[in-house]
């Protein structure tokens, strides 16, 4: 993967640079009347770890299975490394998949499972032996090669599945919920291992997941999917900090959303009038004057202060604390604003809340405010 | 040597058997479907259609003993002869009508008896401990592997005038002379319930086993007494098992031949037995075929219900 070293870290920003490894153009998949994937476009570049994120039934797995060749495409085309895949059967594709269930062959040992793919390519026996040995070393399972899958723990099975898919050195590795079957603690640890292995072997990964934390920590870029369409494609930071729509803002993390109208739109700032207050945003956005729009503010970006006087001015409002949830490291406050809307505010618990004197609690009158850079403009 | 040379000259031309193998490998999926499909068409559907055809013919002194459906006259005109006489004959003749009704009465009653006795047994197995459960289940399945005929025969020994039951009762002084049990309808009921009981218990067991045990606890927690819980929770949820079990007993019992013959003797008329005799002794093929078709019509609805449930069950799993 020398190409990767010379190329930029963000090839998707440079339209004339590297050619994408995977080009998905107008791909549609229908099951009877149900459209599982609806006319999607996507380019994935060599060396990326791309996450498809979405709820169940959003079409992410179907898209992955179309890349692998298990599902036929109803419309549009998939190209991998310049080759159109529409006529290529699963067994001839330069892709390998790690299944959610791992799909390890129960009647074969670890070693035989891993060698299976190489045998199909009629690779000489000695080479198979070497490659199996190397990949077992990579996933640290040398001592378990004679075991059957059912004699392994969950984490070990997961690594065998990864090794079996990687040993064929595919151009593209597809991972279907790779961590879903592991328990929570092991999942966190494996998350980083997976990213490390990807970096070591340099293979392009496409990961399907429903877990946003997993996607955020793994991905170079990710796509948020809903009802067969991409809602937004971008780096984890872009998706979290600059969601384009109410759906994305609400799906990734949580957001307080106000409806409003654009009253000022110039190069370096935007102003939106909402029922709660005027929202000032200190950077330009392409919006239309006078149009209906939504403003989102993340709960952790809101300051909460006890107040006697109601707040006046932009980026601030007043309310009463309706409820407090203690989460340990932080607390979540439900604040009822004067217009009746309830917003969430989270604040770290820097002090032990033993004595309630200094803290904010039920029925307190509070003011909320946020930085001009914090508000996010969202379309429907 | 000569062969070798021609092969070198034409490298694309492979030997025939290799080409056939290649073809096979390419179209193996077609082969896999075709072989069993062809078998069933030939040995299941075709025979059945022939029976249907014969049921619409008339008895004739010929070999085979019935008239042809399609005949060609000398000047090349095709005539189709379809006769419904056999059916009207069956339905107007009290013998056949009564036999059909009697078969239905016996099979329905036996099905209900199987359900009444099988349900608690299945429930008891489900409620047994982890060690006893597989053993009990095994005990239920075991008779299924032993010969059907011998299980019926075992009851002949019990029910005969000089059979075990009469001997025991006589010895105990309960009765003075043997009760006639063998060659009565009672014996037929015993035989059917005995041989078909596993078909009732197993689907019931499979259905109950899937039920969540905490449902009973939840019902009790909400103040329901055991009987109420049974009728309001357990019974409705085991309905699929009840339907499957009942059909598995009812369908074969209706057409039963061996049990009425061995345990009922000549005294119990069931349609399977009449059909067999009609065919082998009287060799009246058209009437026998019509009797078969009417029997099938009687069973077609339960059979379709069964297929529907089978399909639904396999989709769920």
């Amino acid at each position: 993967m020398t190409a990767l070293d010379t190329a930029s870290d963000t090839p998707w920003l440079d339209p004339d640079g590297q050619t994408p490894l995977v080009q998905i153009k107008g791909v549609t998949k229908k099951y009877g009347d149900v459209t599982a994937v609806d006319n999607v476009d996507l380019d994935i570049y060599p060396g990326e770890l791309f996450c498809l994120l979405g709820g169940s039934g959003c079409g992410k797995s179907t898209l992955l299975r179309m890349l692998a060749g298990f599902e036929t495409v109803n419309g549009g085309s998939i190209t991998i490394d310049g080759v159109d895949m529409s006529e290529v059967p699963a067994y001839d594709r330069p892709t390998n998949m790690m299944f959610q269930s791992y799909a390890l062959f129960p009647h074969m040992s670890v070693e035989k499972n891993i060698a299976f793919g190489l045998q199909q390519d009629r690779i000489p026996k000695s080479e198979i032996k070497d490659r199996v040995h190397d990949i077992l070393a990579l996933v640290e399972l040398q001592d378990f090669k004679k075991r059957k899958p059912q004699q392994l723990s969950g984490g070990q099975r997961q690594r065998v599945a990864l090794a079996r898919a990687l040993v064929k050195e595919p151009k593209l590795l597809l991972l279907d919920e790779p961590l879903a079957a592991l328990d929570k603690k092991l999942r966190k640890q494996t998350q980083f291992e997976l990213a490390n292995i990807q970096e070591k072997v340099g293979v392009t990964f496409v990961v399907v997941t429903h877990d946003q934390e997993e996607a955020m920590s793994l991905a170079t870029r990710m796509a948020v999917m809903d009802a067969g369409r991409f809602k937004q494609i971008g780096t984890p930071t872009e998706i979290y900090e600059f969601p384009e729509s109410r759906f994305v803002a609400d799906f990734i993390g949580s957001a307080n959303i106000f409806e409003g109208r654009v009253t000022e739109d110039v190069a370096d700032h935007v102003r939106v009038k909402t029922e709660v207050c005027d929202v000032f945003i200190d950077h330009g956005e392409s919006v239309k004057m006078g149009s209906k729009i939504w403003v989102g503010i993340r709960p952790e970006k809101i300051r909460l202060t006890k107040a006697d006087k109601p707040a006046v001015g932009e980026n601030q409002a007043s309310g009463i604390v309706e409820d407090v949830g203690y989460l340990g490291e932080s607390s979540i406050y439900k604040v009822k604003l004067s217009n009746g809307q309830i917003i969430d505010v989270t604040a770290p618990n820097q002090l032990r809340p033993m004595s309630r004197q200094h803290g904010i609690t039920w029925d307190d009158h509070v003011n909320i405010s946020w930085e001009p850079s914090s508000a996010m403009l969202l379309n429907s | 040597m000569r062969e070798a040379r021609t092969q070198i000259a034409k490298p694309t031309q492979r030997p025939l058997h290799q080409r056939i193998m290649r073809r096979l490998q390419k179209h193996w999926q077609l082969v896999i479907v075709t072989i069993p499909f062809a078998w069933l068409l030939l040995f299941f559907l075709a025979p059945f259609l022939i029976v249907a055809k014969i049921s619409l013919a008339e008895l004739a002194i010929a070999s085979p003993p019935f008239t042809k459906m399609i005949e060609w006259t000398d000047n090349g005109i095709m005539t189709i002869r379809v006769v419904f006489d056999n059916f009207t004959y069956i339905l107007e003749d009290d013998l056949y009508l009564n036999t059909y009704l009697n078969s239905l009465k016996i099979s329905v009653t036996s099905t209900i008896l199987c359900l009444l006795f099988g349900y608690p047994v299945a429930y008891a197995i489900v409620r047994s401990g982890p060690v006893a459960k597989p053993i009990l289940l095994f005990c239920i399945i075991l008779p299924f592997w032993t010969s059907f005929l011998l299980r019926v025969y075992a009851w002949m020994g019990l029910l005969a005038d000089q059979g075990t039951i009469n001997n025991v009762l006589l010895a105990m002084g309960v009765i003075d002379e043997p009760i006639r049990m063998l060659y009565t309808e009672f014996a037929v009921y015993i035989g059917i319930v005995y041989t078909y009981m596993p078909f009732m218990i197993l689907p019931l067991y499979a259905n109950m086993e899937k039920l969540d045990g905490s449902l009973n606890e939840a019902a009790a927690d909400l103040g329901s007494r055991a009987t109420n819980t049974f009728f309001k929770v357990t019974l409705p949820l085991t309905m699929p098992g009840i339907v499957a079990g009942c059909l598995l007993v009812f369908i074969p019992a209706t057409g039963e031949y061996v049990i009425p013959d061995l345990l009922g003797g000549g005294n119990v008329q069931m349609i399977g037995r009449v059909l067999y005799n009609e065919f082998s002794r009287n060799s009246d093929w058209p009437v026998a075929a019509a009797v078969a078709i009417v029997l099938l019509l009687l069973l077609v609805i339960p059979m379709m219900v069964f297929q529907y449930y089978q399909g639904k069950a396999s989709e769920e799993s």
């Binding site: 799909a103 075991r147 | 896999i32 479907v33 040995f43 559907l45 032993t146 075992a154 059909l275």
Partner: protein, 280 residues
């Protein structure tokens, strides 16, 4: 559901099991009876076993039944698993509904109808093509294959559906062509189902009386046909002896199967322990 059994259920269970087994036990006991009249006890004896072993009629019926059962089980397993595979793994194809219907229909078709239609069919064939010239081994075997393949197909279908398609997809993903997937993954995974399908077909064939009676010809008596012809007239002690022998053979087979199953269970347990030991 958990272990909690009311007294009523225990009583029903005991009665049920007694109902199942008392007749069989009595059947065995009377096979050792010296008396010619079955239910009248005449002292212990093995004379009916001697008679049984000396009867050529019985031996030829046993041999015919076993031959038919083995050939039937083998063909029914092949045809039935092909049918099951086609139904579960080939998606939609032309005539699938008819095919599926024909697979299940023999399961619920009354035996007398299956027997009757096959006999009529064989006679028609004979008139048209001169085959089968006489009925016996071949016709009974064909008839048995036709209904027992349905049982095998249903067994295989259930197993295939339960297995899911993940492993086959994984093999294809690793470069195995469809035929290779079938031989390397699907068939090995199906082995237990194939074995039980074979055994089921074997038993069904050995057990069948009605269909065989229809399609057999003079001189070709299977064991059930022989037994039936003898017990039709009443109780016969030699049949008790024969029944005991059959029950003994079945009990042996069942014991072997139970031991094998027990071993498999132990191996599974060992595997699980091994896997748990590797946690962390």
């Amino acid at each position: 559901m958990q272990a909690k059994r009311s007294r009523f259920l225990t009583v029903m269970l005991t009665l049920g099991l007694a109902f199942f087994y008392v007749p069989m036990i009595l059947l065995v006991v009377y096979s050792f009876n010296y008396s010619k009249i079955v239910p009248v006890w005449g002292g212990w004896s093995l004379r009916w076993y001697k008679e049984l072993f000396e009867s050529r009629e019985v031996w030829s019926a046993v041999s015919l039944s076993l031959q038919i059962a083995v050939v039937n089980a083998t063909f029914a397993t092949i045809l039935g698993s092909l049918a099951g595979l086609a139904m579960v793994r080939f998606g939609r194809f032309k005539g699938r509904t008819l095919f599926g219907g024909m697979i299940v229909a023999p399961l619920v078709m009354p035996e007398v109808i299956t027997g009757l239609s096959l006999l009529v069919f064989f006679i028609t064939l004979n008139q048209l093509f001169g085959w089968p010239s006489e009925r016996g081994f071949a016709t009974i075997t064909i008839a048995h294959i036709t209904f027992s393949m349905a049982y095998v197909a249903v067994t295989i279908q259930a197993r295939l559906t339960g297995m899911g398609q993940d492993l086959e997809e994984a093999a294809a993903d690793l470069g195995a062509k469809p035929f290779k997937v079938l031989t390397a993954i699907t068939l090995p995974r199906l082995t237990p189902a194939l074995i039980s399908g074979w055994l089921l077909a074997f038993t069904l064939s050995l057990d069948d009386l009605v269909i065989a009676s229809f399609v057999t010809g003079p001189g070709a008596n299977t064991l059930p046909i022989l037994i039936f012809s003898r017990i039709r007239v009443g109780l016969r002690p030699d049949i008790n002896a024969l029944a005991t022998m059959i029950i003994l053979v079945i009990a042996l087979c069942v014991a072997v199967a139970a031991i094998l199953m027990f071993r498999q269970q132990r191996a599974d347990q060992r595997d699980r322990k091994m896997a748990e030991g590797e946690e962390h």
